[in-house]
């Protein structure tokens, strides 16, 4: 009996899972290759209202409009680079989530390497410090040290109960 109830409950849950099959996007392009290209491009386009989301992640009206434009232009056979250029001519580089590599962004893209360079210089100096040889004691210094150590030993011995 118990097994039967378990089986019934399990089958109910399994059939619920079937119901929850992802709905087909009514806006999707009929050609799956084009749809995939459009979706990939949407991930690179900034939703200008929400700023740090892509238009693929956003529910804003502007993001919907831009998604539709990306799909339309993809369907017309435009390349991702052409569609990006179309958007940039209206919204500037800001519309791209990944800034382009040009004279204004050399420092931005180069900064990790500059940081690595600084780290390298720092390590070089550390290495040199560690390697610097300590000059051995001369005879006088050795005798002085021995005397000091002996004093220490005596003092410790004196304190002992």
């Amino acid at each position: 009996m118990k097994q039967f109830i378990t089986a019934v409950i399990a089958s109910i849950f399994l059939s619920l899972a079937l119901l929850a099959e992802p709905p087909v996007n009514p806006d999707a392009l009929p050609d799956p290759v084009q749809e995939a290209a459009a979706r990939a491009l949407m991930k690179d386009i900034r939703c200008l209202v929400c700023q740090n989301q892509s238009i693929e992640d956003s529910d804003a009206d502007l993001a919907k409009d831009l998604r539709q434009i990306v799909r339309e232009q993809t369907a017309e056979g435009k390349s991702p680079a052409e569609i990006k250029a179309w958007l940039v001519s209206r919204y500037g580089d800001w519309v791209l989530l990944e800034p382009p590599f040009d004279e204004r962004t050399y420092f931005l893209w180069g900064s990790p390497f500059i940081l690595l360079g600084f780290l390298g210089i720092w390590f070089m100096f550390r290495e040199r410090d560690a390697k610097s040889v300590i000059a051995p004691l001369n005879e006088d210094e050795r005798l002085e040290l021995d005397a000091l150590l002996q004093q220490d030993d005596l003092a410790e011995g004196g304190d002992a109960p």
Binding site: L48, V49, Q51, D61, L62, D65, L66, I69, V88, S89, R90, Y91, G92, W94
Partner: protein, 184 residues
């Protein structure tokens, strides 16, 4: 020296943070359309019998009277538009500036009711129901106001509502500068 290195790094980071946080309008990005002709568009009037608006009108001296105009994207559902409306009225009524209103993703009757309630600063009212013209202008949200000179070149974009001291400190000086060019 080595002992102070973490401290120096800490202080310079704090300095960078203070610099980054105190920069104003970090959200605002200069429009790429500035210095370029207005994008081509042709919009229908908001009201039956009214005038439509095209980009050709912006460079037509017979329409603009050889003076710069403002293009204001607005919507009845847009709360900041309500906030800036008084300043648009001042520009139109007191300063005599021609403002063309483009109703963005709004129902015509809602836009008209909005203007009935708050007053109408617009010389022409047209409708961009799908928001496609707004995208051609690089509009990311309403309100946005563009200053277009008599030759149809976009000279300035005011991002967000014209409220507080932004009429006096930012928009008006830009309009005055363009007006001054035509005087000699």
């Amino acid at each position: 020296m080595r002992r102070f290195l973490p401290f120096i790094i800490f202080v310079s980071l704090i300095g960078l943070f203070i610099f980054g946080l105190s920069r104003q309008n970090s959200v605002e990005v200069r429009s790429v359309l500035i210095g370029k002709p207005a994008p081509s568009f042709a919009l229908l009037p908001l009201q039956a019998g009214g005038h439509g608006l095209t980009n050709a009108d912006l460079s037509n001296h017979d329409v603009s009277g050889g003076k710069p105009v403002l293009i204001n994207f607005f919507a009845s559902w847009c709360v900041p538009c309500r906030a800036e409306h008084e300043n648009l009225m001042i520009l139109a009524r007191e300063k005599g500036i021609v403002i063309y209103g483009i109703s963005y993703r709004d129902r015509p009757r809602d836009s008209l009711a909005f203007l009935d309630e708050l007053g109408n600063p617009f010389t022409r009212m047209v409708i961009d129901g799908q928001g496609r013209t707004a995208i051609d202008w690089g509009v990311s949200g309403v309100p946005e106001t563009f200053l277009v000179d008599a030759d149809g070149i976009i000279r300035y974009r005011h991002w967000g509502p014209v409220v507080g001291d932004s009429l006096e400190k930012r928009l008006w000086p830009e309009i005055e500068a363009v007006l001054a060019e035509k005087r000699p």
